[in-house]
Symmetry: C2
Subunit: 282 residues, 2 copies
DNA sequence: AAGCGGCGATACCTCCCCGGTATCGGACCA
DNA sequence: TGGTCCGATACCGGGGAGGTATCGCCGCTT
């Protein structure tokens, strides 16, 4: 199977429309139709159901969509990492570390310090990205190592090492009745009148249904809490970042948040290994 | 990057010889040279060092070899799994389970029984393969789920669930002085005169250097032990398989062997999920 | 030192296949 | 029943992949 065919199929499978897929690929529609037919013939499998109501995926098509996306990511990763390796004349390319904006501030600073103090340390580019994007950045080669937070971030398909575990707190506007308590339970928070949990965007940018206000980052979120429009359950380590007017109360039965360092499983980079070693020694 | 280019590069990088690589690929040498040059130009990276003493890999080339092999495996997996999905008219393709020949006999039987008793169970093809091949079978789509043994098998890049932990025993010919002991230590075994540890083949079929006899499977190994030519450290569960003339003595400080069930991280197969659930309930 | 063999690069040719334009055919709709 | 939306088909042109022949370089031989 050629990557061209895979890219074509993934485009059609995502758009479920030959015309739009062709446009997105920058080619005309007829060659796209032909390429997909040819792919189906060579695989001996019907991938798409062409109905008058548009195009739908067959079971085999769904499999190829998932597996094909993973394969295309692997190819992108190969290309990117090769380019990066070639840029480093010393054989010591820099490392790209990715983490969520607004999280792990202190831990990240300590990690960078500890690593920089090691002999043979190389430059570390820190990339801050949106929710849920880290795994993709690691898989397609735009990043070499990530700081993730279980159970929020998926670590499937990555090698990880646990760094830090912490409980969670509910962040409330100052003066809220619950702020007097030494701790609360999840059920207390879920039932708060007028302070719904906010909604985070899905990977495709849309928002799930629900009552809470849509938010894109932690700053927005905390501002909404301060305005009395929302409540938020966050790891304890947000406490130092809380502005005046916000109070954090421990949630006894919220799941523990574990900060982990993660990297692609077949990584053989010395720099990543050293970074992981530094992290585990923190 | 096209898979054709990747395949060509991987062939050259593995052979370190354009002529042989071309032969292996079934093409002539000049187009291969051209394709590699073009790839290097497009990546803006030197991948190979052409010296009069043959071809060597640059740093960037090493990166592309590793990443490229992973990407090609992902593409093979996409193709194979799509084909398999298309063969199953009910949307319930069979599952391919892979494990080492001669190991996990009892556990595997129990697992297959437990899974078969579940509603909606599908056919399970059991593939027995050689040492160290399981990961590759999972990654390139020839298998869907595997039984592995830590710490011998690498589980990098796979999702796993622990099933069973056991100690190890040293297998000796009956009558050997150590067979009177209730347990031994690694240092006792390492120093045994005339009973060296056997050598297992590497992934490419060659054998590492050393004193022990080369072996390919457990039957060979146990026969050599019975002949007084070798000793072997194996998981406790081999005891029932031991023929007369062989004695097992627990090794107190040998690493614990954990049997795990493993599957590709992005697997969405219902059947694999059910199999894993059945396994964890054993 | 000249010859020779091994190996990758270059030159040049051919043909396939990819992509483009024009058009068709069926389904749904007013 | 004409319109239009959408994928398939027909046909054409150009680029690129692969083949053969040959070159250029290096190291070995005697």
């Amino acid at each position: 199977m050629e990557t061209r065919e895979l890219r074509y199929f993934v485009a059609v499978a995502e758009e479920l429309h030959f015309g739009r897929a062709a446009q997105r690929l920058g080619i005309a529609q007829p060659p796209l139709s032909r390429a997909i037919q040819q792919l189906e013939r060579r695989l001996g499998a019907a991938l798409l159901e062409r109905g008058s109501r548009g195009v739908t995926l067959t079971d085999a098509g769904s499999v190829l969509l998932r597996e094909g996306q993973a394969a295309l990511d692997a190819i992108d990763a190969a290309e990117r990492r090769t380019r990066r390796a070639a840029l480093a004349p010393t054989g010591r390319p820099g490392v790209v570390l990715v983490t969520k904006a607004g999280a792990t501030g202190e831990l990240l600073a300590k990690l960078l310090d500890a690593y920089a103090a090691e002999p043979g340390a190389v430059a570390v580019d820190v990339v801050l990205c949106g929710i849920g994007e880290q795994e993709r950045l690691l898989r397609d080669g735009r990043a070499d190592v990530a700081l993730l937070h279980r159970p929020f971030d998926s670590t499937a398909g990555l090698d990880t090492e646990d760094l830090h575990a912490e409980g969670q707190v509910v962040v409330l506007p100052a003066g809220h009745p619950l702020t007097g308590r030494t701790h609360v339970r999840m059920s207390d928070v879920a039932a708060l009148p007028g302070l719904p949990m906010p909604r985070w965007p899905n990977l495709d940018g849309t928002f799930p249904d629900g009552a809470g206000p849509p938010v894109h980052n932690h700053t927005q979120l905390l501002q909404l809490v301060a305005l009395g429009r929302a409540s938020a359950i966050l790891p304890e380590s947000v406490r130092p970042q809380l502005r005046n007017g916000l109070v954090a109360v421990p949630v006894a039965d919220a799941p523990t948040v574990t900060t982990v360092i993660a990297w692609p499983p077949h990584s053989r980079s010395r720099a990543v290994a050293a970074l992981v070693r530094a992290a585990t020694r923190l």
